[in-house]
């Protein structure tokens, strides 16, 4: 016999949940948005970016991997947690080369949209690392600009678990850990434009570039020009 359904609270709102659901899965179903970058619908959870950090029972946990529990008290939209998230997102901007004005993903970029949502507009206190990373344009249909990579591993999980190919993987350790391709360059892998890992939704930033379709939608008319990131999930609550 399976365990019965239960409820917990996020910022005082009662959230119904089923046994085995994570805090984020239950929150999404209830129309409460918890910011996230490395988590993506249809891919296994990783808990890597920590942007979804919430306080659950007073402890900081990743909402995408932490199972919901009966009567759990979760804090999500507090000034303190949002400041931590803003700092995390700002450090992601500074760790790579994120030049929104020249990026084809601008307006569709989840990193940028998260900065908008978290009001990342103050003078910075972090240094810009400005790494020098090569662009891989070897593949006829796909280009990789890892200057914009935030190491979320969404392409790795999509390629392994959905495409069953393993085109992408991590190399290196710590600050040197990077996403790399399983070959001398992308042209020497079995990557294909029809792969789920290459689809427009999987890469949250402008790192995986589909050639030939750039700027088909003009700047100013893109996904996050029409609404804040998470507004689709929050919309469920109002319905």
């Amino acid at each position: 016999m399976s365990d019965p359904d239960f409820t917990f609270t996020i910022d005082g709102t009662t959230i119904p949940a089923k046994p085995g659901q994570t805090i984020m899965e239950a929150a999404d179903a209830a129309g409460v948005y918890i910011p996230r970058l490395c988590d993506h619908e249809g891919l296994r959870h990783q808990g890597g970016c920590r942007v979804c950090t919430v306080k659950a029972g007073g402890r900081s946990v990743a909402a995408c991997t932490q199972p919901a529990a009966p009567k759990l008290v979760v804090e999500n939209e507090t000034d303190h947690i949002n400041k931590l998230r803003r700092d995390l997102v700002e450090m992601l901007f500074h760790e790579g080369n994120h030049l929104c004005p020249i990026c084809e993903a601008s307006g569709n970029c989840e990193l940028q949209a998260m900065a908008y949502r978290l009001d990342m507009t103050g003078p910075t206190k972090f240094p810009y690392l400005e790494p020098c990373r090569a662009v891989d344009a070897s593949h006829p249909d796909i280009a990789l600009d890892t200057n914009r990579c935030i190491s979320c591993s969404r392409c790795i999980r999509a390629s392994q678990d959905v495409d069953h190919k393993g085109v992408f993987g991590y190399v290196g350790r710590g600050i040197h850990r990077r996403v790399a391709v399983n070959g001398s360059d992308l042209a020497h892998t079995d990557a294909d434009i029809t792969d789920h890992a290459i689809s427009a939704d999987v890469c949250p930033v402008g790192c995986i570039i589909r050639k030939g379709v750039g700027f088909a939608t003009p700047i100013g008319e893109r996904e996050f020009d029409h609404g804040l990131i998470g507004s689709d999930i929050e919309g469920k609550r109002r319905e």
Partner: protein, 189 residues
Amino acid sequence: MSELEKARIATVSLAGCFGCHMAILDIDERLIELMKLVEFDRSPLTDMKTFTRRCDIGIIEGGCCNEENVHVLRDFRRNCDVLIALGQCAIMGGLPAMRNAIMHSDAPLRECLEEAYITGDYIRNTTHQIPNDPALPLLLDEVYPCSDVVEIDYQIPGCAPSGDIIFNTLSSLLAGRFHGFARENIKFD
């Protein structure tokens, strides 16, 4: 309101493309409303090269790519009560900062200048030299955001910022009730 009671605004374009100054004109007819409250001091819009007196607001377009930019920015900090970085170049270096991270280069500035003046495929430079006239400001090793050089009070994001965000920020600052940007107005492109 007499001229003396009006708030004084100074503006300058450092390592920018002048697009942010053009964006100030995107305020459109509200410019008339704004001009009832402010007067421009040192600015490319007035063609005044020095401060006539202390200003309430200084607006900076562009980051710092040469020593003159640094001198001008420090002059603005000394002469303005509130300093605003306008647009992505002033905020984080912007497009000029692309020269900070040229791939595989140990000396990105040298590589940038050599390609621009000597080795580039489409260059016609009869002197075969990188310009080095003493009148030219010395280039910095990197392009720096304004907040790396002086204390910045507010940053208006955008490339270029919209007329709405510029007008809303200036008018609420002048009224003493600025409490951040409307989230739908925050854009980095």
